[in-house]
Symmetry: D2
Subunit: 341 residues, 4 copies
Amino acid sequence: MTAPQEFRWEPDAGADPTTYTYTFGGVAPVASIRPGTLLSTWTMDCFGGRVRSTSDMASEVCDPRLLNPQSGPFYVEGAMLGDTLAVHFVSIEPRESWGVSSTVPFFGALTSTPMTAMLHTSLLERTWIYEIDRAESVVRYLAADTPFTAALPLDPMHGTVGVAPALSEVRSSLAPGDWGGNMDTPEMRAGVTCYLGVNVEGALFSLGDGHARQGEGETCGVAVECAMDTTVILDVVRGRPTAWPRIESDGYIMTTGSARPLEDAFRIAHHQMVLWVAELTGQSAIDSYQFVSQTALTPIANVVDTAYTVVCKVPKSVLGGAIAMDGKHAELRRKAASWHA
Amino acid sequence: MTAPQEFRWEPDAGADPTTYTYTFGGVAPVASIRPGTLLSTWTMDCFGGRVRSTSDMASEVCDPRLLNPQSGPFYVEGAMLGDTLAVHFVSIEPRESWGVSSTVPFFGALTSTPMTAMLHTSLLERTWIYEIDRAESVVRYLAADTPFTAALPLDPMHGTVGVAPALSEVRSSLAPGDWGGNMDTPEMRAGVTCYLGVNVEGALFSLGDGHARQGEGETCGVAVECAMDTTVILDVVRGRPTAWPRIESDGYIMTTGSARPLEDAFRIAHHQMVLWVAELTGQSAIDSYQFVSQTALTPIANVVDTAYTVVCKVPKSVLGGAIAMDGKHAELRRKAASWHA
Amino acid sequence: MTAPQEFRWEPDAGADPTTYTYTFGGVAPVASIRPGTLLSTWTMDCFGGRVRSTSDMASEVCDPRLLNPQSGPFYVEGAMLGDTLAVHFVSIEPRESWGVSSTVPFFGALTSTPMTAMLHTSLLERTWIYEIDRAESVVRYLAADTPFTAALPLDPMHGTVGVAPALSEVRSSLAPGDWGGNMDTPEMRAGVTCYLGVNVEGALFSLGDGHARQGEGETCGVAVECAMDTTVILDVVRGRPTAWPRIESDGYIMTTGSARPLEDAFRIAHHQMVLWVAELTGQSAIDSYQFVSQTALTPIANVVDTAYTVVCKVPKSVLGGAIAMDGKHAELRRKAASWHA
Amino acid sequence: MTAPQEFRWEPDAGADPTTYTYTFGGVAPVASIRPGTLLSTWTMDCFGGRVRSTSDMASEVCDPRLLNPQSGPFYVEGAMLGDTLAVHFVSIEPRESWGVSSTVPFFGALTSTPMTAMLHTSLLERTWIYEIDRAESVVRYLAADTPFTAALPLDPMHGTVGVAPALSEVRSSLAPGDWGGNMDTPEMRAGVTCYLGVNVEGALFSLGDGHARQGEGETCGVAVECAMDTTVILDVVRGRPTAWPRIESDGYIMTTGSARPLEDAFRIAHHQMVLWVAELTGQSAIDSYQFVSQTALTPIANVVDTAYTVVCKVPKSVLGGAIAMDGKHAELRRKAASWHA
């Protein structure tokens, strides 16, 4: 196998922030990529780098219309409606030695929000700065009100990964849905392949919202946000549509659902998994329903975004050697290995 | 340490099924237990043993008013309103070499139900029988419509664990809530301690609904159901109320929430965890909110019962050595070890 | 037609409040009633009369375990599982010249609650006293912080009407469900007949929670609460089960659904209406679905109780003269008229 | 008062359907309108006129990407971010003597959908044709499976009314939200004024989805759909932002909320009403919360679209003569009257 073609694209952190990409759809591609290309880029943090110390409050230093900038969109040559875009994450590495989290007024799972509208005043707004120690592979948390500290495992991932939506819609990078977007699942880490259904010619792939780590649910709405150096291989699985984003790791196949209420996100993820396992193992739908009921892991991804996201995982070890997506994950894994060598 | 006092109680499988316990509250205790006692018992499967082959359909052989029989209730001496009942699971072992699962008309997460009422006809009703192989520590699944088979890890647990509810309510053993009940979380396995707030004198503890294993979400509504041989130590943490059931394992503290919609179950579990971590680490609530947001695991337990259940888990390794519930888990762990020895 | 037999029962307002009825199920009947009897009684307000001025705060003067006392339960002779209890409201009249409303910490639709758990502090607790002017048929509202006042139409109703639940459950009078209970719909006014499915011998009917009026949704959780003088006729429709409470007025047939999330309450109410209209008009289910889709009114009842309630109303004028429930409403209407005469 | 300037715009029903407007945002305006102009237009039905008989099935004759065409968008001169667009409906009249409704596979409130994903097969797809009799002011329903018929009051309205969304989003005309869109409330009838917050210069107003009538909830997902002749006056309330669409009639002020789950739509509508009533009457927020709790009517609009919509109505008669939106409704009412004369 020959090493993949490489392509580098960088956002211009010094440009006018209004020129960044804040939507899936509605933006002209920044580059055209041949399938199989190894794309290396970096992504700004969700605040566009504007929250840098514990005295920076997001509600003061950020324009609410300019949150969660994405790197892209990338036009993938030959990707057509009815195909699936395969995004293999070769590496995801924090770009700086610090990350940031915060509470944001009327945003998060344990607060009134504009959609779960109540008469409360907002919770306290606060910013926490984490040290990212790549040598020790930890992020260091410091409580603000007491001396409590903790070292948490570094586990870099992308909160936002997606393509242009269907129906000519243009969606904010704060929203998740069947186009991907702001799913905020910690499963989106290096080593996995994300499958996204193509809705428009060229797919128009973007990514952003790097997290040094996050808890499942992203409860306060903000993870350990950081700029991220990321390398992916973009490829196309032709003639195979994908209704909702899927992820494959070496050990698991995973489906996602993004909806409100949260049980509908659960239903989508499990419905997709029942269909996928039936296809992979040749089982009937009702048998697959039974089988998934006994084998699924079901971590919550986020309960804070415009839709909530649930992941359903089934271990490959129980699937009798079935191969998903024509073996695309293994193929891209090998391709990535050849590049690292 | 002296070995704990032992007590054995057995349900009468040959009795009239209308005499079994099907509620939390509303039933006279079957025995009175001194705190610290090692209680050994067994529990019938959720169908009361009436679904025994692939030709037995639950809707035909079971009375819908006589589902999910519980062993108990047990009156725990000295347990008072404002205390917490600690239930340490010493061992949970399938009693037979088979388990059963099924689809049940209008019950489950991917079907219309009486509460999510629609105009569809019911999905196909079917029963699957699993071989439970304790030597190999697996359960063996056989698809009905194709030759597909799989060996799945044996992971015994109790779906239903609880006490009498507050407000003089009597709740069906099919319902989960702040009294525990039918939470259907695979975290309720041997080695953990479950903490339940006491609502009435004597707590009135029952358990049942053994599962040889289940997936997270219990999607079709029925796990690998089986009769279970179970040993617990019952103890009381005095003067410490517990609003929602909690679980402690050697590695994790866990909270639960049971509600609809599912995001409210999430909110309860995470709200409880924020309060608990604040108490254990001395952090302020807002710092704890931040900390839990980055450290929680959040597996879904069930999306099929009268309320849905979510679990929130935080690893003890990040809590700086904090001790939960006055060290009751470690104490009961040691007590259990002394008994085994 | 001979006038109906009359029966009077009164709660003992001077008794120990712990002796009142606070549940559906779990309480011995206070009297046995022959079907067709005209039962006259009165009901305490939801606070048991303990909030009487703007300086009485419910959280201070009320025991949270002793809220919403019911008059009853009444054993209705001959009512059996599979029958329907018909409750015709002959008159509902405020007993005093004042009513009370309040905000209650962590209760209501626009506040965090124990089930929609958040980290906010509670909203301001406040009590409002309304003058009930029966001569003018209004209740008079006085704002607390400004001189604003308004006279609102008097529209007396019962928030809580129900029977003992199925599955041997005992439910708090704060909860609504398929047994009726705390539905909090303003449609439960004089002149209507409420139909409740019988779950236990004698039905065990209770009622309470009189409101001089309420808005649809009962947004803050508390209506214009008052003690109520009420007369009903209790009757039995034999051999006709009723899955969820229904209401019939001179102009409308109505179904109710009580569930969370609110769309499930909607689904239950509309599913029941589709089935009912199909039965009454002889239409197929799919035609009835179409017909209800164009003819239903759908006011929200409450979004504050342990389940939320939605009402579906279809005008009799479009039903081609169909007669519901064997004409029981018209029969009881006539019976009531004969009594008044 | 001089009669308003008039402007007529017509869609080209003979054009390539891909050229129609199917989104809010993302489309160049078809015309520029001076505030105060009386705009007369007509709108195609939601199927673009392609479902014309009981043998036309929407899933066969319609392209799912080409549903719910809108007339517009209209650029309103001088409308700026922070202003409110006032849309006064002068007349809404069915253009033909027939309307159409249908069941659509996996769409509606009493069926599994792609978001409430289940394993059921779809309900029966069927089309119903209604006669629209403007002389008698009724629509005539014919059941398909039995001879049942009914004449239902004609009550023309627009299901879809909106402006370009915020955050550079482009949203399908099937979606409702804070930009308006597919709210599907029968309150949007002739004689009311709809207030929409302006998100982009010129507002970019569109409307469509005429209904000869609909039930509250639009249960099966499709009303009595018809092409509509409609006249509106477009005007701007400067310097007054509107967070969620509001409606004013001669008798009521109304707020809307569109979200999932349905209780969040309720919360938004009631939260907006509490704020609005407080502003109009000078009451504090907590007094207004109490007042709205006793005075609101709360009909459900739709439980079928991508978000569900709830309306909150408070009668002007209890507001002490308060004037909303600087009296814009009365002003436009007079303007409309002068035109009719």
